[in-house]
């Protein structure tokens, strides 16, 4: 955690404690105040900052804001998550994420992995968000910003442009919005004359494809509902994990999986090198300025205790289910070759195994048949691990059975999720 944020959180927690006058009375008042404030049509501009680092809670508060805020309101919500990999709504975790290293801290504890082996950070949560777009890695060096606004007034660029104005105000003159609605830092050396108000071009912008390529510092994803639009993004300020992020976002099974849905576009990334408290304040300021004509911003904190709001809890629990994380995956087919030349082919539709084929020299057809009938129509989210599932149907010590289990564990690893 960046020092400044730590200090901020401590001081904020302290402030909360000093006002504390009994858990229930305080808590209830605070939640009802939040909902009242959020839903009051008079509050057309609102700005919230989360003190929680729980990705699912922050996403659920964000979703609550999207669904509950008045139709004509503009709402900024800022948060920072603990280390996690966040996939888009229509993505495949087996192609996007190196699932077998997520629980590396647990593996180390059980001595399956040497201490010196990278990656060196603890357990990393796997989260599927409700918005579209690709996979991102979050940690304490990112600031997530989200803006909910009327759909009629929405463009995919307008709030990325707002954040670029904030960055430039802080001296990050290489920042601009690119054609993918991301924020990048130009890496060119030439200083060409440009309009300083143009948020899509800097004096360092090179022609498309020319090197050095711009570094991506902030992605974008959107969720559109009846009348409302949510734009959220994670801005890389000072992540200590840049060197190991690629290990998390590179799946060894990817070349063997043909998947429907959305594939991430990987880009070179960089840290902006800004202090998060300073950046956060500037984003709040730019947001206030952008909507000053609409009204004065109502400002407040949200945090872990908001899990007591039933609708936020419901959204939170949904995000935590294996059904959402695994079985929401669009249809895919695995077609791979195992270490001893075995061929495995598995088709999965919305989390249900629809076909299974396996063949290899000297393998028992009876075992393959037994495994196949055990796997067909099986829901992926109901399997805790391949070995114990198949152990109910075949002798796992058998050479054919263990060849199958090895291939399944290698190409379709089942992540340990917090709700297991």
């Amino acid at each position: 955690m960046a020092p400044s944020r730590g200090i901020y959180l401590i001081s904020h927690a302290f402030r909360q404690c000093s006002r504390f006058s009994g858990p229930l009375a305080y808590g209830r008042k605070r939640f009802s105040t939040f909902t009242e404030k959020l839903t009051n049509p008079k509050n057309r501009v609102q700005s919230y900052l989360s003190t929680s680092d729980d990705p699912c809670l922050n996403l659920s508060i964000e979703d609550y804001i999207l669904r509950k805020s008045p139709p004509e309101s503009y709402i900024l919500f800022l948060y920072t998550n603990r280390p996690c990999v966040v996939i888009g709504r229509n993505q495949n975790p087996w192609t996007e994420v190196n699932l077998s290293i997520l629980n590396v801290a647990d593996l180390k504890q059980s001595a399956q992995l040497k201490e010196t082996e990278p990656p060196a950070i603890g357990n990393v949560e796997l989260v599927r968000r409700r918005s579209g777009g690709g996979t991102v890695f979050h940690d304490e060096g990112n600031l997530n910003w989200s803006i909910t606004c009327p759909r009629t007034d929405f463009t995919r660029d307008k709030h990325a442009e707002m954040v670029v104005r904030a960055l430039r105000k802080l001296g990050v003159n290489r920042a601009r919005v690119n054609e993918r609605h991301d924020i990048v830092l130009d890496q060119g050396n030439k200083e060409l004359p440009v309009d300083p108000e143009d948020t899509h071009r800097t004096t360092y912008t090179l022609e498309d494809g020319a090197s050095p390529r711009p570094l991506k510092v902030s992605g974008s994803a959107y969720k559109l509902t009846r009348g409302r639009a949510l734009h959220h993004a994670t801005t890389l300020l000072a992540s200590p994990n840049l060197h190991i992020i690629p290990q998390y976002l590179r799946s060894p099974a990817k070349p063997f999986i043909e998947a429907k849905g959305v594939e991430s576009v990987s880009s070179p990334v960089g840290n902006i090198g800004l202090d998060d408290a300073i950046f956060r304040k500037e984003v709040q300021k730019q947001f206030g300025a952008m909507y000053a004509k609409v009204g004065e911003a109502v400002v407040d904190f949200v945090g872990d205790e908001y899990l007591n709001i039933p609708e936020i809890k419901k959204g939170y629990d949904e995000l935590k289910t294996k059904e959402w994380i695994l079985s929401q995956t669009p249809q895919f087919t695995l077609n791979a070759e195992g270490p001893s030349g075995e061929e495995i082919c598995v088709t999965v539709h919305h989390g249900v195994i629809k076909s299974f084929h396996f063949q290899g020299a000297g393998l028992s057809n009876d075992i393959i048949e037994a495994v196949s009938s055990a796997l067909l129509e099986q829901q992926m989210h109901e399997i805790s691990d391949w070995r114990s599932l198949l152990g109910q149907h075949v002798e796992t010590q058998d050479a054919s059975a263990s060849a199958i289990i090895d291939c399944l564990e290698r190409f379709l690893p089942l992540p340990k999720l917090t709700k297991d």
Partner: protein, 171 residues
């Protein structure tokens, strides 16, 4: 916003008069707006004409009034941009009016597709799973999303093509 509501209200009046005369040819729509005419009818019957919602979905009810075909409008398909994935509902899924029957993703945006009518999903357009871009090519024809066996009346504002065009120009 006020103007938008008034359009919606006007549209509702138009719609209710239109669905009471299922066999009225399209060319006769103008006179349907006359309130005196509308008051003559009180029963509701299924519409044969394609209708549009404020959320930019269309609904086409079969002649026997039992099934509805649902999709997104040309306007919505253009506004969404290139669709890269369509999440279709499962056949046999029971839905209520206003529920999501699917979702589309385009340009990093996830949007729900809502159904104005409740019932049971009887057929989905599986071709869109293979080629999601089909919804951009012909959203109001080949790019239909699902067919629903209707249970109850459609809810919310339903507009004719002309009313919907006016609505989108207003927005």
């Amino acid at each position: 916003m006020a103007s938008r509501f008034s359009v919606a209200r006007a549209a509702r009046q138009l719609t209710s008069s239109a669905i009471r005369r299922p066999f009225a040819p399209i060319t006769c729509q103008r006179w349907q707006a006359t309130p005196a005419q509308a008051r003559l009818f009180t029963v509701t019957a299924p519409a044969l004409e394609k209708k549009y919602t404020e959320d930019h979905e269309w609904i086409d009810i079969s002649a026997d009034g039992k099934t509805a075909t649902l999709g997104i409008s040309d306007y919505a398909a253009k506004a969404l941009g290139d669709v890269v994935y369509i999440e279709l509902p499962e056949v046999d899924l029971e839905v209520g009016a206003g529920d999501a029957i699917g979702a589309v993703e385009s340009v990093k945006s996830a949007s729900d597709i809502l159904t104005p009518v409740g019932g049971k999903v009887v057929e989905v357009n599986s071709a869109l799973e293979e080629k999601p871009g089909g919804i951009n090519k012909d959203p109001e024809g080949e790019g239909w999303i699902a067919k629903v066996e209707i249970d109850g009346e459609p809810e919310g504002t339903l507009m004719t093509k002309e009313e919907y065009t006016a609505f989108t120009e207003e927005a």
